[in-house]
């Protein structure tokens, strides 16, 4: 998707406005509940659902994710609060799992999001527990299933297959 938005940067402003209007139209008018949730997230993006378990995964979040994802530093030196991430709020955890395993490769020669992968540091069990905790602790979305399968698939994938950094044609040194 990074490539898509990168390419769109060259599109005239009025066309971008039209695309944005169309996309917002598809989403429809947000419900009162959805609007309230958005306001709450803007006020307290780091708030954790009090019903989220205090388990090992909570500690992984606090010690491994939060030092960068606390919103205190600008991208790319810090990450956005994870409650605001599409990766946590989407229908499938695939993107979240891929990024946890392989990270995000920085774009060549320009500012872009970046993140180290945690394939070595986190075991499969730790990753799975963390994915479930993030969903329960930082979103109002229903739990995911099949996370273990996606972790195995991500580990089997070569990062080069996954990551095409915008702005560069290749990643060879």
């Amino acid at each position: 998707m990074g490539l898509v938005t990168h390419e769109l940067a060259g599109v005239p402003g009025e066309d971008l406005d039209a695309i944005a209007e169309y996309a917002v139209g598809l989403m429809g008018t947000p419900s009162e509940a959805r609007r309230a949730r958005a306001e709450a997230l803007k006020r307290e993006p780091l708030a954790v659902n009090p019903r989220a378990p205090r388990n090992e995964a909570a500690v992984i979040y606090e010690t491994t994710c939060l030092p960068c994802h606390d919103g205190s530093r600008p991208v790319p030196f810090g990450g956005i609060p994870l409650s605001l991430s599409l990766g946590l709020n989407g229908e499938s955890p695939r993107n979240l799992v891929n990024v946890m395993v392989h990270g995000l490769m920085p774009a060549e020669g320009e500012t872009s999001p970046m993140m180290p992968g945690f394939a070595g540091a986190l075991s499969d069990a730790q990753m799975e527990a963390l994915v479930h905790w993030l969903r329960a602790g930082l979103t109002d979305q229903p739990p995911w299933s099949g996370v273990d399968k996606l972790i195995a698939e991500a580990r089997a994938m070569k990062p080069a297959m996954l990551l095409f950094p915008p702005g560069g044609s290749g990643t060879e040194p």
Partner: protein
């Protein structure tokens, strides 16, 4: 507080849960091969192996290491008995300032452990996460090729 293995020895540390592994290695265990570079997991100077996988120790809190095996450059070999990679890096004089070299060797060691005969593209691809600012890339690649051919 966490207990894990470093170079085959059990280590128990009472450091805070979010303390990066790198700080424990350098500050408490006097294992100074791994270096602090960027602190963001982007340069590779701090690379060590966790359960055989190359890992940025600067963004790895000790809380997630309970029971795991960590290997640093010091665990690969010694001056008397260098690992084939260490020997090849010396023979090829792959270091200029040397700051990146411990991380380079550890990432290469993980590659060779899985794939003893990597092709040129596989070596280059594996080393992408590790940066060298002196520009000794060609010597580093020669050293890895040399170790791989033994």
């Amino acid at each position: 507080m966490a207990t894990f293995q470093v170079n085959g020895k059990a280590v128990t540390t009472d450091a805070e849960a979010d303390t990066p592994l790198l700080y424990v290695l350098r500050g408490d265990l006097q294992l100074n091969a791994a270096k602090f570079g960027c602190g963001l997991g982007q340069c590779g100077a701090c690379t060590v192996l966790v359960e055989g996988e190359p890992t940025f120790s600067c963004v790895t809190p000790i809380a997630i290491l309970e029971g795991k095996k960590v290997t640093t450059l010091e665990g690969l070999g010694s001056a008397d008995k260098p690992h084939p990679l260490q020997r090849a890096f010396i023979e090829e004089q792959a270091a200029q300032c040397g700051y990146c070299i411990a991380g380079m060797i550890m990432r290469a060691a993980a590659l060779l452990a899985k794939n003893p005969n990597p092709g040129e593209a596989e070596i280059r691809s594996a080393l992408i996460p590790n940066l060298c600012r002196c520009g000794t890339h060609m010597r580093i690649l020669r050293a890895v090729r040399k170790a791989a051919s033994k």
